[in-house]
């Protein structure tokens, strides 16, 4: 190997690529071992997604909520906190979105903006609660956020079950008003004559119109840049990072450590909650009685890990994650292979990312062998 190749091993991007490839290889091994044609499965997955505008649009739609929970986890991580609570904050955001979306009639455009602001506030305070518990009683945020996830879960079910909230003989709450929705194309329009006409005449756009594609992806992009900017270019971000990397030195240099922890959890909670609101405003339009945790927050942890905690990279890892998930469903429906294999693959990618710091050492080792 030439030393240029060896030096490539030291680059962060290489680590990600190698991890993703590793995941695919392990996925292939598992597929083959369970008697499926791995190459065929991957072909279905890639051509399935890449070949269809509708599927691509759907991947984007699916990616948005986990990009936001991913951003939430990544932001907290960059400031030295493990936000396992994105799940619960997400639920609080979805609930807020549904309530404000139904009970507070407002003009379009204003309505979703108000919802996002309130969801951010509610989720932020919910996240900050974990920060408060850490500051006041020294309870580790991993413990408190796991508990808070369950509290949010049952709180959601309690609210949805209240008379007047739940639509009778269903398991969901009253759906939001049209003014709150953020889809580019409403169902009503799709079914109208003009809509049908449009779908017939535009081959590609017509396909995309059939999905729930909405303003959510822009919100996700805005948040990714905002969080990157805060971390990298503001004095607040400087303080948060300092506290995250060495709270003792931060304290000694005059940074208010407790305030920082509180603020960081507030921002993380708010971002995850906006993810929940987007899901409601663009896709589900309501919240249901939950029988199990939905996993958006947990997916966010994986997404943020693959992105190594970098907010801008979260945009891509979120899309990758959603694409794999969606591709997994395609594989299942076309070949009958279980989606669990895709989950194994995603798990392997995350694991491979976790061991990626060993790569520079491998590079050292290789260059040493070469020298001999």
């Amino acid at each position: 190997m030439t030393s240029r190749w060896i030096n490539l091993l030291r680059k962060p991007l290489t680590a990600i690529i190698i991890s993703v490839l590793t995941g695919f290889i392990i996925g292939a091994v598992v597929l083959t071992a369970s008697g499926y044609d791995a190459l065929e499965a991957y072909r279905i997955m890639f051509s399935g997604i890449a070949g269809s505008p509708k599927y691509m649009a759907q991947v984007v739609v699916n990616a948005v909520p986990i990009i936001l929970t991913g951003l939430s986890v990544a932001f907290a991580f960059r400031t030295g906190l493990f936000n396992i609570g994105a799940e619960g904050q997400f639920v609080m955001g979805a609930l807020t979105g549904t309530m404000i979306g139904y009970y507070l009639p407002l003009p379009p455009i204003i309505h979703p903006i108000v919802i996002f602001a309130l969801a951010f506030l509610v989720g932020g305070l919910y996240g900050a609660l974990a920060g408060y518990l850490k500051n006041k009683f020294g309870i580790h945020e991993v413990i408190s956020t796991i508990m808070l996830n369950w509290i949010a879960f049952y709180f959601n079910n309690y609210i949805v079950n209240l008379p007047g909230v739940k639509v009778e003989s269903t398991l969901h709450a009253n759906p939001i008003l049209d003014s709150a929705k953020i889809n580019f194309f409403s169902t009503a329009w799709r079914r109208s004559d003009a809509g049908r006409e449009f779908i017939r005449e535009h081959e590609i756009l017509g396909e995309i119109v059939k999905t729930d594609l909405g303003a959510g992806i822009f919100v996700a992009i805005i948040f990714a840049f905002l969080l990157w900017f805060v971390l990298r270019h503001t004095t607040t971000g400087f303080e948060l990072r300092a506290v995250g990397l060495n709270r003792f030195a931060a304290e000694f240099s005059g940074v208010p450590v407790k305030k920082s922890i509180f603020l960081s959890m507030f921002i993380a909670g708010g971002v995850a909650a906006v993810g929940g609101a987007i899901l409601v405003l663009s896709t589900t339009n309501t919240v249901s009685v939950l029988s199990a945790q939905e996993g958006y927050g947990w997916d966010g942890i994986s997404v943020s890990l693959i992105a190594n905690g970098n907010p801008l990279a979260v945009l891509f890892s979120g899309l990758l994650f959603a694409a794999l998930r969606y591709g997994g469903m395609l594989i299942q429906s076309k070949t009958g292979a279980p989606t669990e294999i895709i989950n194994i693959m995603i798990g392997s990618i995350v694991l491979a990312v976790a061991v990626a710091p060993a790569l520079p050492r491998l590079a050292d080792y290789l260059s040493q062998r070469r020298a001999r």
Partner: protein, 509 residues
């Protein structure tokens, strides 16, 4: 020596090592005879720690050959080093804080009763015996977080010995020790060598090299200068060899003019984390343009005194006045605003964010002020310009380290980052705790001169140092601390090291 024993215990030939763009070592040889104490000397960032980390398998050399007891070996990781009988005590310790001493020592080499059940009693007994043999007495049941730095170091040495090593590497072992503790460490080293072990020691203190080492290898900027017999050279020869120029070992202070009262501490009482009263009815005062040195044996309340002044610890009673303003029990930020800056003794815990870049750490206390930021937005170009200036002024190496993580700097250069940052802020009162710890003689000369300059400009300096050399070199006044009290207020011109030493030990004149 019989013919069968190899000439060298350690032989490193033509070692090369680079980190990205930094050439840390270029064609360095090191030959260490068995049963000797061999010193490694060089400026901050010369590559001493790197060379030793290669020997200990923490880094792999880019090129070069290593022979242990005459046999060519590959040392890929510390495990391999230990198997070859090599142990290392690092510049910054690597112990588990909430484990006991015994647990730390046996970690990875546990004695079990079978089925993986720890045999703690046997381990404790072995450790006690080993410690006794080499003068490294410790209490195996104490928690690491509760013991002094000197004890932690003994634990590190015991840990190596427990693994049955013959070659012991000590990276700046004396930087964190008091003079008394150094004497005891030197005794331990002699006992180890008598027992047939080989020791490689890195130190910046020339006196120590003269006191213990038989050979000394000097490296400068990654290149080998020479290996000499210590008996054949003087301290200033060594200094010149390592720095490449004359070094003045004393500081010229010039005219002194003392002004108004800056700091006054009266009847201060402070307890440590465990509730023990460490500062007991302590009073002191400090004026503009004055360097006041606190001399004392470590653990006599210096840490708690400084923690109370800087806002890290609560005073139980008493008062701290800064230019007449009460700053008792204020937050660190308020203390800064009162005009106090501190070079903290624990550089890795309190002084630096190791994973920040040099540029970031240089503005750790000023990031929210002009010109480094405006309306909450950082001005990176200004921050990097500032870093470039400081790196040049304080000779932080490597020169292009502004964007490098502080973690990747050598120990002495990390220290320079803190010193640069605190001095640059031009505080009315500068508290300097072990400001020259881990610095090479050239850098020590520079920092001491910078401190004197500050005081000449009318700034007050509170120097806390375990080294009497430094105290006598810099101080206008010496306050001896013993048992949490100032027991003597002395004029350095009218006293001497013996008297101060006696007072530090609790004696009377």
């Amino acid at each position: 020596m019989t013919d069968s024993t190899p000439r060298y215990a350690v032989e490193m030939n033509g070692i090369f090592k680079s980190f990205a763009k930094v050439k840390a070592l270029e064609d360095v040889d090191l030959k260490v005879r068995p049963g000797t104490i061999h010193a490694l000397l060089g400026e901050n960032g010369a590559g001493k720690s790197t060379l030793m980390k290669i020997l200990y398998g923490l880094y792999n050399a880019d090129k070069g050959e290593i022979l242990i007891n005459g046999k060519s070996v590959q040392i890929r990781n510390p495990r391999a080093a230990i198997d070859l009988g090599i142990g290392m005590v690092h510049q910054h310790f690597m112990l588990v804080d909430n484990f006991t001493i015994a647990e730390n020592i046996v970690l990875g080499h546990e004695v079990t009763r079978g089925f993986g059940v720890l045999n703690q009693d046997l381990a404790n007994k072995n450790i006690a015996e080993l410690g006794h043999k080499y003068g490294l007495d410790v209490d195996p049941k104490a928690l690491i977080q509760d013991v002094s730095v000197a004890t932690q170091q003994r634990v590190e040495i015991l840990k190596a010995l427990y693994r049955g090593i013959d070659i012991l590497i000590l990276d700046e072992p004396t930087a964190v020790l008091t003079p008394q503790e150094i004497t005891s460490l030197i005794d331990t080293m002699h006992r180890l060598v008598e027992d047939g072990k080989t020791i490689i020691i890195i130190t910046h203190k020339l006196k120590e090299i003269k006191a213990v080492a038989e050979y000394c290898t000097v490296i400068r900027r990654g290149k080998l200068i020479d290996t000499v017999l210590v008996d054949e050279v003087s301290q200033s020869d060594l200094a010149n060899m390592m720095v490449g120029r004359e070094v003045k070992l004393t500081t010229d202070k010039g005219e002194r003019s003392i002004g108004d009262l800056v700091l006054s501490v009266s009847n201060l009482h402070v307890r440590d984390r465990r509730g023990v009263l460490k500062v007991h009815d302590l009073s002191l005062h400090l004026r503009e343009g004055e360097i006041l040195a606190i001399a004392g044996v470590d653990g006599n309340g210096q840490t708690e005194l400084i923690d109370a002044i800087t806002g890290l610890a609560q005073a139980e009673s008493g008062q701290i006045l800064m230019r007449g303003t009460d700053i008792t029990n204020k937050q660190p930020r308020d203390v800064h605003e009162a005009g106090i800056r501190t070079i903290h003794e624990d550089r890795q815990k309190r002084g630096l964010v190791l994973d920040f870049t040099v540029a970031e750490d240089l503005v750790l206390e000023t990031y929210d002020q002009a010109p480094y930021s405006r309306r909450g937005v950082l001005k990176w170009p200004v921050i990097h310009e500032h870093a470039a200036d400081q790196i040049k002024r304080f000779d932080i190496r490597p020169k292009e380290s502004a964007r490098q993580k502080v973690r990747d700097l050598s120990g002495g250069n990390q220290q320079k980052v803190i010193v640069a940052r605190e001095i640059h802020q031009n505080p009315s009162l500068l508290i300097a705790c072990q400001p020259t710890r881990g610095l090479d003689v050239g850098a020590i000369e520079f920092v001491r001169k910078a401190l004197v300059e500050q005081s000449t400009e009318g700034k007050a300096i509170l120097l806390v140092s375990l080294e009497l050399d430094e105290v006598f070199d810099l101080a206008d006044r010496i306050n001896v601390i013993y048992n949490g009290k100032i027991v003597a207020d002395l004029n350095p011109a009218e006293t001497n090291e013996q008297q101060v030493g006696l007072l530090m030990a609790g004696g009377e004149l």
